[in-house]
Amino acid sequence: MRYAMAIDTRKCVGCSDCVVACQTENNVPIGFCRDWVSETVDGTYPNVSIELRSERCNHCDNSPCVRCCPTGASHIEDGGIVLVTQHRCIGCGACIQACPYEARYSHPDGYVDKCTFCIHRVRKGENPACVSVCPTKCMYFGDLDDPNSDIVNVLKNRKFKSLAPEAGTQPQIFYLV
């Protein structure tokens, strides 16, 4: 089992619904976020293009944040989901330094927090909150080992990229371009 996400940049409108949905689903304090939306504008008027991307922890296969954690609070769950156990985290910040995507933040309560792939929902067979709210349905979540899953299907048929692959983390969020 290998959970992953594919996000269609051709459909994303950058509305940030994924961000609010995550916040209300996961009690993310206001002023912090587990996911965010970036916009890149290229070109010169009137030949301009934009790319909108909803970003979050990439649940890397080769996750430096897990390796550098001195207590094992950062760990990998079944399906490759990278998690932080709050009561094992000492808040040393090493994992924050280790993540090339700035996907983690220090929660006001002291521990480090980040996207959980909504494992509490996924275990019940639901989609992550951000995926299920997205008005453009541009996010696909699923198991890469399941040949019938939407995500495998969409990755087979579309061109995609991941972010900063040169960082060597083997990110598991794919952007359809």
């Binding site: 950058g14 940030s16 961000v19 002023g31 912090f32 976020c33 996911d35 965010w36 939306v37 970036s38 916009e39 890149t40 504008v41 290229d42 010169t44 909108l52 430096p64 390796r67 550098c68 954690c69 001195p70 207590t71 094992g72 609070a73 009561h87 094992r88 985290c89 000492i90 808040g91 040393c92 910040g93 090493a94 924050i96 330094q97 280790a98 993540c99 090339p100 995507y101 700035e102 933040y105 220090s106 309560d109 002291g110 521990y111 480090v112 972010l163 900063a164 040169e166 960082a167 060597g168």
Partner: protein
């Protein structure tokens, strides 16, 4: 024009607009660790070489500072933690892949060693010292007899500790400025140099100061070599590493780096030490203090600047 922005308005404290999660505590921690490593290394080595008598500051007096420095260092690390109540978790887990983890363990081992070492010289330092409990006095005698078996692991652990202060940073691939294997040796050498400077400050023997001063000169040359090498390595690296190097070559850390670290912290004290060596009278305090300052500022800059560098995507 290329334009990049967060449309969802990210502005997380200490993460945006750039990472600033480690503040003054970590460079202090690294500085104190490096300094301790330097002192303990010289103490161990000169003891093993049988130079206890000629080099009293090196073997006996400077190491007295180390337990204090190490405990202070550990306290700095503690201060940096955001979830302090869970501090003990550091010592209920052994995670060899985590530099933060094994750093904590190295400190756990070397701190008692340094305490033992210092304790064994307490009566030499304070002739009226009494351990109050008889078993402690017996233990002290045992320690003094077996110093050579402490000196060896102490010197070895000191090297590990020194390297560790660099590896703690270089383990983070995600920060291009830290992402160089030179950082371990560089911090080791720099730590030894600060250790040497401390010894020079404490030494009353001209001979001892001369020996350590010469060593320090060598360390400075090696350090300058490593720094040059590191910057050249960045310039030959990927875009993000070139950006990292530019923080020092025209970027926002150029002045502080060249003025405080290179010139005042390395080149100038080296010159003073050379002058002293060829016979000029130079108050030893000046180069030593400059080296210590330079070493401290160097760590501040590396920690601060490193957090500014990141992958681009």
């Amino acid at each position: 024009m290329k334009e990049e922005l967060f449309v969802s308005g990210r502005n997380i404290p200490n993460i945006d607009p750039y990472l600033n999660i480690w503040h003054w505590q970590i460079p202090m921690y690294l500085f104190l660790g490096g300094l301790s490593a330097g002192i303990l290394f010289f103490a161990g080595v000169y003891y093993i070489l049988g130079k206890e008598k000629q080099m009293p500051a090196t073997v006996k007096w400077a190491p007295m500072l180390v337990p204090i420095a190490l405990v202070l260092g550990l306290f700095m690390l503690f201060l940096d933690l955001k979830h302090k109540l869970y501090f003990w978790q550091l010592y209920t887990n052994i995670r060899l892949e985590s530099p933060m983890g094994w750093g904590a363990w190295v400190l756990m081992i070397i701190t008692p060693i340094s305490i033992l070492w210092s304790a064994s010289y307490m009566k030499e330092m304070f002739p009226n010292w009494d351990w109050k409990f008889e078993f402690l006095n017996t233990f002290e005698k045992w320690v003094i007899r077996n110093r050579i078996y402490i000196a060896w692991p102490m010197a070895i652990y000191a090297v590990i500790l020194g390297i560790y202060t660099g590896i703690l940073l270089s383990a983070f691939n995600a920060r291009p400025l830290w992402n160089t294997s030179l950082l371990g040796p560089l911090f080791l050498v720099s730590g030894m140099s600060t250790g040497a400077a401390t010894i020079i400050l404490m030494s009353k023997s001209h001979e001892e100061r001369r020996i350590i001063g010469k060593l320090d000169l060598l360390l400075i040359v090696v350090e300058l070599f490593f720094i040059t090498h590191m910057i050249m390595g960045f310039l030959a690296g990927s875009e993000v590493q070139i950006n990292a190097a530019h923080l020092f070559l025209g970027g926002q850390f150029t002045v502080s780096f060249f003025v405080f670290v290179i010139v005042l912290g390395l080149v100038f004290p080296a010159l003073l030490e050379v002058l002293e060596m060829i016979g000029y009278k130079v108050p030893i305090v000046i180069p030593a203090v400059l080296i210590l300052m330079g070493g401290l500022i160097f760590r501040f800059i590396m920690v601060e600047a490193g957090q500014l560098t990141r992958y681009l995507y």
